[in-house]
Symmetry: C2
Subunit: 544 residues, 2 copies
């Protein structure tokens, strides 16, 4: 006998998990709560709901049908939040365009996604003009505008004007929960952008899992009395899905437009923001500012993602009273996989011990099955030392790359999504990312994390920058090569660096195989367009 599926009475309706339920819950919970767009616009949740209806009516009038793809090119605004709901709720697909890409890349994503309509902020009109002749499928352009200027020729109209004429009572269709809701593109260091996509079910489950793990009475919680402002853009993996979470909660939401430091700071204070997420560089910038040091940021909780949070930066933020901790995920994963909230007993720990935990990638959130595995997909122990590739299953992972079967199969080989990251998991279940799988150095049967080794070398007072790459080696498979940029006038020798690493090896911090016999002093390190170390280029330049 096998497991029995439930029997469904013919008239019974199996309720689908669709994005509309998130908006509905927020409006029920907090009908009069505020949504703010910088100093330009304030509305209530009830008004948001009405405007979502109006937007759908306006888009339908402009020809949008279920199954169409509607692209948005905007900064973080109330309009974007409205698009997060109206477009998927119509059965259309929201394409959140990464406006930081080059015009050629933006063109590629528009054509590859087969966009039917583009809503574009006036700021990006030059970008669109530059490639307009080569845009293939877009039939309708709509202007997003804060300035009230002219609508360009060929545009169907301006957003607010279209909404003003539209009916707030749009009859949203009943949708299958596996309907595609959103799509966007991820850019690696090589190759063309790849499209990921998410269904209504996936976004709803991501939101409810976040709701379960972020709320309550422990450290870093996000509750009804909080005030939310994103500092990771809405075009970037749904701003980590937090606008959906914030709406479900019914909290006050503040959208800052383009990220201008002075405006972010002003909103932080005047709107009493208590919950945000951002990349480490934003915190770096804040800590370096004299103005910020005079503000009270002791009610601000911030999730850090995008790249590793250095411990020194975490401690600097904690000294200012900021409740800072890390989250981990990627475009392919919706994004959230883990969060580094403290366990209750850790809240008593001193700052240094806490910072160690807060800088890890964190523990898997509900419904996430995250493992570290060896090359044969065997699970590795949670001992805080054994490194393995991070593979995951969860209800909200992209089920492939858009129209790209080969990369899709590689992503999902063996029935697990391969993150391409290397990590360790400790006995408490906290994941720590040690490297990208492409950057790990496999030497003498050991895996040496290039990031770990870089971190150790950077502790030398004369070292300004450092990158470690693996070079082919006949005997050991690979050996580390350290590329080092000295601080001006600093006195650093290869031997000093080797002694430093050897000391750490002595203490068990890193394997003896990690002591680099090859060290090159260089003037600068090559970086990619988004500022990451370009190790592919380094390997090419220094091969042999």
């Amino acid at each position: 006998m096998t497991a029995r599926l439930i029997a469904r009475t013919p008239s019974a309706v199996a309720t689908q998990m669709v994005i509309g339920t998130i908006l509905e819950t927020g409006v029920r919970t907090s009908p009069n709560q505020e949504i703010v767009y910088a100093d330009k616009c304030r509305m209530t949740y009830l008004e948001l709901q009405q405007r979502v209806g109006r937007l759908a009516s306006a888009l339908a009038a402009a020809g949008v049908k279920a199954g169409d793809t509607v692209a948005v090119m905007d900064w973080d605004t109330h309009r974007y939040l409205e698009c997060f709901y109206a477009i998927p709720m119509m059965g259309a697909v929201l394409h959140t365009v990464n406006v930081r890409l080059s015009p050629e890349q933006v063109l590629y994503t528009i054509n590859h996604a087969k966009d039917d309509v583009i809503l574009v902020n006036r700021e990006f009109l030059p970008l669109i003009d530059a490639v307009k002749d080569r845009i293939e499928t877009v039939k309708t352009f709509i202007l997003l505008d804060d300035e009230g200027g002219d609508v360009p020729a060929g545009f169907a109209g301006e957003y607010e004007a279209l909404l003003a004429q539209a009916d707030s009572n749009y009859a949203f269709p009943e949708l299958d929960e596996n309907t595609c809701a959103t799509t966007f593109y991820t850019t690696g260091t090589t190759g063309l952008p790849k499209g990921v996509y998410f269904s209504h079910r996936q976004l709803v489950l991501h939101t409810f899992a976040l709701r379960a793990v972020t709320s309550g009475d422990g450290q870093g919680r996000f509750n009804q009395s909080d005030v939310y402002m994103p500092i990771t853009p809405m075009f970037h993996v749904h701003a980590w899905g937090v606008p959906y979470l914030a709406t479900l909660l019914g909290v006050k939401q503040v959208y800052p437009g383009r990220y201008v430091p002075e405006i972010l700071l002003k909103l932080l204070v005047t709107e009493k923001v208590t919950f945000s997420h951002c990349v480490p560089t934003i915190i770096q910038m804040l800590l370096g500012s004299e103005v910020v040091r005079q503000l009270d940021l002791s009610k601000w909780k911030v999730i850090i993602g995008g790249s590793a949070l250095p411990k020194s930066l975490a401690k600097g933020a904690m000294e200012m009273g900021i409740d800072i901790f890390t989250g981990y995920g990627m475009s392919e994963t919706g994004p959230v996989l883990t969060l580094a909230n403290l366990m209750p007993h850790m809240e008593e720990w001193d700052m240094d011990a806490q910072a160690d935990v807060r800088c890890r990638a964190g523990r898997p959130i509900p419904m996430v099955d995250l493992r570290i595995v060896d090359g044969n997909m065997n699970s590795l122990p949670h001992d805080g030392k054994t490194q393995g590739e991070i593979v995951v299953r969860a209800p909200w992972l992209t089920q492939g790359y858009l129209d790209d079967p080969a990369n899709s199969e590689e992503l999902w080989q063996g029935g697990w999504l391969h993150t391409g990251d290397i990590g360790v998991i400790d006995a408490d279940g906290y994941l720590k990312i040690t490297d990208r799988i492409k950057d790990v150095i496999k030497t003498g049967g050991e895996w040496i994390s290039s990031l770990d080794l870089e971190g150790l070398i950077l502790q030398h007072p004369g070292v300004a920058e450092c990158a470690v790459i693996g070079m082919p080696d006949a005997k050991w498979g690979e050996r580390p090569l350290a590329l080092v940029v000295k601080k001006p006038d600093a006195d650093v020798t290869s031997e000093a660096i080797q002694n430093l690493v050897a000391d750490f090896a002595e203490k068990g911090v890193i394997s003896r195989y990690g002591i680099p016999e090859n060290i090159k002093f260089v003037d600068s390190l090559p970086r990619t367009s988004v500022g990451k170390l370009d190790k592919k280029l380094m390997r090419t330049e220094h091969l042999g």
Copy 2:
């Protein structure tokens, strides 16, 4: 063009929502948190997880396979919690037997559910013995025992002894989320018990929706630092699903065994319980006890369900510092549909105004679409006055009655689950139950709530009890008949009661059609076996 479903790469895995994810989350969150069974047993979440593995191994050894039905007859114990997980996680169906039914009814449900195995507490052996010859499908009996006595002949063994020999590493199968997980029976005032059933997906979504609505920083919230003790039995609609919610949260859980007032009170104090749910009579009992009045119950949050919470009782509890509020649902609905938490601005209100809100059925929880409709399924306004039948859609409603197509279709007619209750919804979205649809009085085109009218008549100082039923009337369709039990030696006339109701009609509290011209003074009112007014019998007795 129609809405587009997401494309799935062949190797990609669509993670299913299965009950194991709830246990996994709890163990990750709070591995060392406690689970307590009265004064008999304490364990950690990690131990719970290991024991769930052992239980599955033991049941498999006893012949349980995926698709089988495993019945449990027990009070609220750690064993029941283990069954909540192990049995569904094996792909089998957990039948939670209502041990308060008569032996004949218990027999009926065991045979109708086609139970394969029964786990039975020693206390219920006489009940089983009385019907054992007529049990049709059960092949295996397992003893649940707190006393350590002999295992009856023909039993496969005793629970703890079987677990002690079993392997904690059971290989749970991967399940489709629509696999049936639980079944149990609902008994109306007439007819045979009807079986309802719930899938893994339904229970997981119910749990996550509860997690979203109950946690955070408002009134009556259930957070990680709370301590949970059920006072609605685990055989009754999964104890409202709260054991699953408590496990997801990772809170300390206290199971009290059979509900003995002194034990409940002792556990409440010694285990520092802060969150429970019960029927109004439990609160009534507590408020009447001298012992209780000396306890500090000011940290105790209690959801009331099962029948209406009288305002006077709510105020009595609030005066003792208890954070009391109502929930609404039924066996068919998994159960929770609404909760009467205060909105933030109501937390400033005085006790009387708060009690009004706390006694309503509440607002729909996330994912619940709840409507009041007229006889043609038209939605009625949320004005706090217009009454309609309450119909619902939600992801966790039973999709029918077990092997009962006729009643299943009636339950789901028109694609909405019919609760059989009549209610009003106010502008804030709070539902108030005004009557059962069978008890409402349809007169002169108006719906008069028999419960409302009873409440008004009960305000006469000389009235002890009152029941109002609708009697056929040639001119008006129906007219109310009030059956009144006087207090001893009280002086009450029909005219006095009519004047009282007329005064309320004058103030707009009730329609003038509600003034009863027919009032009968009786010695007592007939009640059903569970103590509810037996209006069906009253209608028969007083017809014509």
